[in-house]
Amino acid sequence: MSEVQSNPYPFSIVAVAVAFSPRIEAILAESKRLQQLFQSRMIFIHVGDKNIQQEEYLKHLLHRFGLDGESNQLLWEPEGDPVDRILEKCKELNVDLLVAGALEKESLVKYFLGSVARNFARKAKCSLLMLREPGLQSKPVKTIVVEGSDHPKTVKTIETAVYIAKATQANQITIVQESDVSKMALIRSDELSDGEVEEHKEKIFEAEDKRIEDILQCTDCGALKINIERLDGKPGYVISQFARETKADVLLLNSPDTKLNLIDRVFPHDIEFALADLPCDLLIVHPKESNSSED
């Protein structure tokens, strides 16, 4: 039985990266909704020298959104790299989910240099929710798209998607299996007949279907409608395009196995396709038990 199912609130400690940007109110409004949804303890982290005016303003906002409860915390971290400071704090406080606002698209230079939110995605050792268009008003979550790749982390990612869908009463979840067709072409170049190629494909697809079925059997999906889509193309890119085309509300991906660096942007890691052009809100699921093996 998975941790998600045994723990009804997998995101019990949620940290929110706070910056004094025009979207600060929308981020806090979303934080409030997340707190209610996940029954979480909230930690608001800002990096920068303390300033009485800003502190008063932030406290006022937290009060306005009902986030100033005793269980919640407001942390001012001294000047430094905001990404490293916030991630250090998340590790120290055993945060389950980090929330940050993110622009849909960065300029090419900024993308390669790395913005704060995107660098969270590349380095975080906890789950990360990147809010593309945070709003003051609540938007219903109707469609959730989730990665179904053949990776041990996928189990937790799908379970998290099911948990969120139930919590938000979403209409449906689509699990996307990305078939790496370039490898098929590789084999085909060794003169296989159409029939042989189809036979090989069927074998692979059957195994993939079985894997997803096994995950779903072990997950309590209730009456949730779950679609399984098989898409041909580059992993990371096709799921991102699919989420955009189907106007998904949230896309769930596995966290990268290692910290990503500039090379992973030049020769894109799967997750970089979504980061380059966020199709919707992006939740990168990082199972806590994988930290020990990755550190």
Partner: protein, 424 residues
């Protein structure tokens, strides 16, 4: 070209394609690579067999001389550029990165040991291998190293697929390591050819620096341009047909550019192939169209034409062939095997990685022919390399089957014995 020459040329091309295909299919039925049949077709039509009984026919139709020879030489050059473009499309940088340290280790050791052993053998025994010019020893030794280092990706991929191991950890490590070895191997070989044909008298380091610089520019800036260009082309041109002209157009431009700056044309095509193959805008159908066009039309013409150039019986030297075979197999088994072992695989899986990467396939023959044409190697060594390429490719399947299915059985049994695995 006069009337009779045109007739001879079309006869030649028609018979080359038909016999190549027929014999290729025969060997395919025997679970052997198509290229074996195509090579055999060339041997039968060329001086080795047909030339013994009907020398007039091989002198006028299946020939490397005169106008037909010139046309065939042009087709061969085009084919080589296309084959390298297709080989480049097979290299997927993301797979190499995803497989991480194990693949890097397997690839590194799998490349360095054959390279060193090949280089050392070439350096110490160059006269035995047929190189009589002591001034060419460096280039010859580098060729020997490279020839030992490269692997045949499609054969490896197909073997793994046949064994249902394509998507396993070991399978992907083999694929990633072979891709990386190919990338480095072809860079090295381009440098070797660049040194042979260098009219600008650049040294080894300059040629290497230019080669790496070209690769970096195309794999970064070039890839970016291709990724921007392809969606536009997709909207404006007929698709996927249009991609054939675009991709091959870029391949030839890349080939022309590298040839111009003193690196061999094949390298431009190879690197452009990697940049194209890596694009998110190429789907399976598009890749398939490019592959089918190259592997079914140009590859057979190329491989059949090899038989016209050389008398395989006259140039077969048992001693050279055996030593090349021994060197190729032991260096790859030790190199790739140790690399995989270092990467954390069991000895049995490591040996499987070694045998998987030991398959040299068609690209080894391309490499050999380019070296032969450039005057780097003798005809006897070329024949030995062809034999080695065929034998290592043929032995990969049975050896992988023996080693990996055995290894898997052990795992399955362990799982069955452990009841805790049933429900977790």
């Amino acid at each position: 070209m006069n009337h009779q020459q045109l007739i001879d040329l079309f006869l030649c091309l028609g018979i080359m394609l038909l016999t190549g295909r027929l014999l290729g299919e025969f060997f395919r039925k025997l679970r052997m690579p198509l290229v074996v049949g195509e090579l055999l077709a060339g041997i039968m039509l060329g001086p080795t067999v047909l030339g013994q009984y009907y020398p007039d026919v091989t002198e006028t139709i299946f020939t490397t001389k005169g106008t037909i020879g010139l046309v065939l030489s042009g087709i061969t050059s085009i084919s080589v550029v296309m084959l390298l473009f297709a080989a480049g499309m097979e290299v997927e940088l993301s797979i190499i990165r995803q497989q991480g340290k194990t693949a890097l280790k397997a690839s590194f050791v799998g490349l360095v040991i054959p390279l060193i052993l090949g280089f050392a053998a070439g350096h110490e025994f160059y006269r035995f291998f047929g190189e009589n010019n002591a001034d060419n020893v460096l280039v010859f030794s580098l060729f020997m190293g490279t020839a030992m280092a490269i692997s045949a990706l499609p054969i490896i991929a197909r073997t793994l697929m046949d064994l249902n191991l394509f998507k396993t950890k070991v399978g992907m490590i083999i694929i990633a390591a072979a891709m990386l070895d190919d990338l480095i191997g072809w860079i090295l070989f381009s440098v070797v050819l660049g040194m042979m044909n260098n009219t600008q008298s650049w040294g080894f380091l300059y040629t290497l620096a230019f080669t790496i610089l070209f690769a970096l520019v195309i794999l970064t800036l070039g890839r970016f341009v291709i990724n921007k260009f392809l969606p536009w082309a997709k909207r404006k041109l007929s698709w996927p047909g249009g991609i054939l002209a675009i991709s091959l157009g870029f391949a030839f431009l890349g080939a022309a550019f590298t040839e111009r700056i003193g690196i061999h044309a094949i390298f431009g095509a190879f690197i452009v192939g990697i940049a194209f193959g890596d694009s998110v805008h190429l789907n399976e159908k598009t890749r398939d169209i490019i592959n089918q066009f190259i592997t079914n039309i140009f590859a057979p013409l190329f491989f059949v034409s090899i038989g016209f150039k050389i008398n395989f019986v006259e140039n077969f030297n048992l001693a050279i062939t055996l030593w090349v075979l021994l060197l190729a197999i032991t260096s790859k088994l030790i190199g790739a095997g140790l690399g995989a072992l270092w990467g954390g695989l069991s000895w049995r899986e490591s040996l499987a990685v070694g045998f998987g990467m030991n398959a040299r396939g068609a690209m080894e023959i391309v490499l050999g022919l380019l070296a032969l044409d450039a005057g780097v190697i003798s005809e006897q060594l070329f024949v030995a390399i062809v034999v080695m390429a065929v034998l290592t490719s043929v032995m990969a399947g049975p050896m992988l089957q023996y080693l990996l299915t055995g290894a898997l059985k052990v795992k399955v049994n362990l799982k069955e014995l452990n009841p805790l695995n049933v429900n977790d």
